[in-house]
Amino acid sequence: MTTIQLPSPGAMPDTIEARPASDNYLTHTRGILSWIFTLDHKRIGVMYMWSVLGSFLLGGTFALLLRTELLTPGPTITESADTYNQWFTLHGAIMVFLVIIPSIPAALGNIILPIMLGAKDVAFPRLNLFSYYLWVTGAVLCVVSLAMGGFDTGWTFYTPYSTTTTAGGVIPVLTAAFVLGFSSIFTGLNFIVTVHKLRPPGMTWFRMPLFLWAIYATAIIQVLATPVLGITLLLLIVERTVNIGIFNPSMGGDPVLYQHFFWFYSHPAVYIMILPAMGIISEIIAINSHRAIFGYRLIAFSSIAIAFFSFIVWGHHMFTSGQSALMNTLFSAISFSVAIPSAVKVFNWIATLYKGSVSLTTPMWYALAFLFLFTIGGLTGLHLATLSTDVHLHDTYFVVAHFHYVMMGSALIGMIGGLHHWWPKIFGRMYDERLGTIACWIIFIGFNVTFFTQFMLGSQGMPRRYYDYQPEFQIYHVISTIGSYIMAVGFTLTAISLFGSFFNGKKAPANPWGGRSLEWQCASPPPFDNFAKAPRVGDCYDFSVVHWDPKLGGYRVDESNDPEVNPAAQGTKAAH
């Protein structure tokens, strides 16, 4: 057998043998400084994870405030429409820029991607840490903006409202989004290089786990689209501070130009959010069905197709903006093309269940919830891509419901599913699966009560971003608010089940679900430099060599019969 030499960008002295078995990345060095200055991708990922979850708590609190305010028409818990406007702006900006965009790539991706590649770290560990601190800077700037009077522009910062509003925090928050954009770009760049350069021998492009394909497609969008947002926000700052007319018509600018610039980033950004979640779902479904994923290549290609199409459909956000009928028609037609790779993915996931051996673990429940919710989110996209129905539905609660099904019901549920999938790997502890599954069901029910109602609300004509509304809409709002409280209970239980694992969780085996990709071959939690010796790359979706081992309480990969990793076994397999 040939020894495989792994590239080691972390370039740590090779003292693995000298370490005790209990040594892992969490215990390798101690003290707060060892975290603050860490270059270890896992620790950076964990710091991202706590930061993102903290922001999620904050964004979620604002969501509950919004829903509570909407319980009755007119004032409910705040007398001021401005306060409400700040709440929905904060909810949107926090959830988009601080939570969903960094959640999967920067938090889970950072921890898992190098291990899946059998690498010791990402290609540029220092850049990785820098990305994290850019994120922190962005988050701090958001807080600064709140202290300076907040902002009430909506997370879309549409001009001329955003350049003329008297709210004091607009410039800091634009700067925050600008800085967060760079954090996202650097992470994307890091991952692209890592996937290109650090794949181990034997892992060809079509041997990569689908999570890597998804992260790779995401990284491309991050690198190509985010600079446009950065420049646009910078132009907005310039317009607001030194009154150069770019977007404001009273100074000779064009507000529709801003919308083009903004959506040229923000539409691809939707796929920055959803693609990694799709990658997670591919992993969870394949591993928990214990069978090869159905149509691997089609799923991989559809990720790239979605990334490509995402760049040429931005105009569908502007069907009513006064854009020409020809442009609207073209954008409508192209928008439908995104539906096809998305549908193909769903069909492939469903087909993966066929003749599989489906284990209903907590992550699997999340994946099934994802399939249900993403199907609704995707199908209601048809109403919005269609010209005549979009005119009626645009800027109503129908749109709000649609994008929550996609961004929360799919991207965030995918993220939470991934968290449950890799939690034992990351922290070495099993959470209470029963509680986790109950929490998943409660979130799922609460989500549908909250947001399905909003489809009706919107198609009946209720505009979005309304502090006050006609009394006939109240029943829908009440149901929706009750749903949001149910979700809050679900998320609380999720937190209890996950954090409870630190106190009474049993020690996690290396491979609790029966995965074949490389991250399941290192210990839980992984050692400081991931692999004591170079892992062997097999077919990551061939589960015939994965066996349940009651002694481990987990699965064991027995590759001795696999010719791909053990040439000596060639004869046996051929005979079989």
Binding site: D82, N85, Y161, T320, A343, K355
Partner: protein, 389 residues
Amino acid sequence: MSMTHQILAHTVSQVSALAAFAQTGAAEPTAPTFWMPVGASTISQGVDHTLDVINWICYVFFALVVGLMVWFVVKYRHRTGDKFRTDYPSHNTPLEITWSVIPTIIVIGIFVVGFRSYLDIYTAPKNAFDIKVTAQKWAWSFQYPNGAVSDDLYIPAGRPVRLVLRSSDVLHSLYIPDFRVKRDIVPGRYTYAWFQCDFPTGQPGKTPRDPNAKTVSGPEDDAQAHTLFCTEYCGTGHSKMNRYVYVLDEASFGQWMTDQSQWMDKIPEEELYFKAGPKIFARCQQCHSLDGTVGIGPSWKGIIERVKAYPIVGDGKEYGTWEDYVRTSILVPGKYVVPTYGNVMPSFKGQLNDKAIDAVLGYMQQLEKFDTKTGKLKAEFDPATGMKK
């Protein structure tokens, strides 16, 4: 290929025929459904039909996906420790091509149906009746060809109406759900929206709406009006920037327009402040209070004394009199902004003429006669003479 082509052409022609059928006239507005509100315009049936087509496609696909998912999960449920099944297919190219092609055909069909009904929405007929619309924070002003101006929209029944939209500050969007019409209003540009409604709603009573109400009130006097919303976020008063659309038959519309254009002309100069004043103040009330409450703009309570105390008013100063100052503030609001308030007031040039400004000035001088909540004449004053009963 040709086979696919034929199926495609057939589907499209079928679907188009259905769409065309659905667009033929109806006797009354379509009743509200689970999804859609009342459909009262000539295009609403086409839009609703498109929505129905899409909905049914969604129901079928949703049932298919979730049904198969549940079936497979139940059927192939695995318990820890059992052996894994190994008889699964890893891929199936014909199947994968089929489920890529079928959605492609379906979305092309949806596109065609949506495009056809969109052309109806987009293209205004040549004989349309033009109404100019000015949107501003946070009010609508509708101007009719004879010079009449109104806060609610009045339209003739059975005639295409084209709205010429402009904004005097930020983005707004005009949305009438019952007509399935929406158009953004972009400062610095003119945009258009058109619709035709064949069903009169009746007229509202003469009392103006109370814009100070805690919540948005319904149309008065049971006229079955249609709601008109602003759907592009525009700040504090965004959710209150909604009015009603009244559809009048041709004759009443003509009469209404004449009355509306002359409503102030018939009022003698000395009666302007209590007959026209409250009606005009209703438009100012979003930002200005009468009881000293600080709003988006300064309160009108004690405004004359405060203005006279400003260093810019007086002999040799920028404004000779307080009346000059108020007049300028209405027509060129950014000229002098009271400190601590933002420069957010839109100009009312072209909307309020000299007579209307006289009414406002008179109103300010006689503020004690008006109710601070509603802006209307207090009960102890005679609405005919403005004097104490």
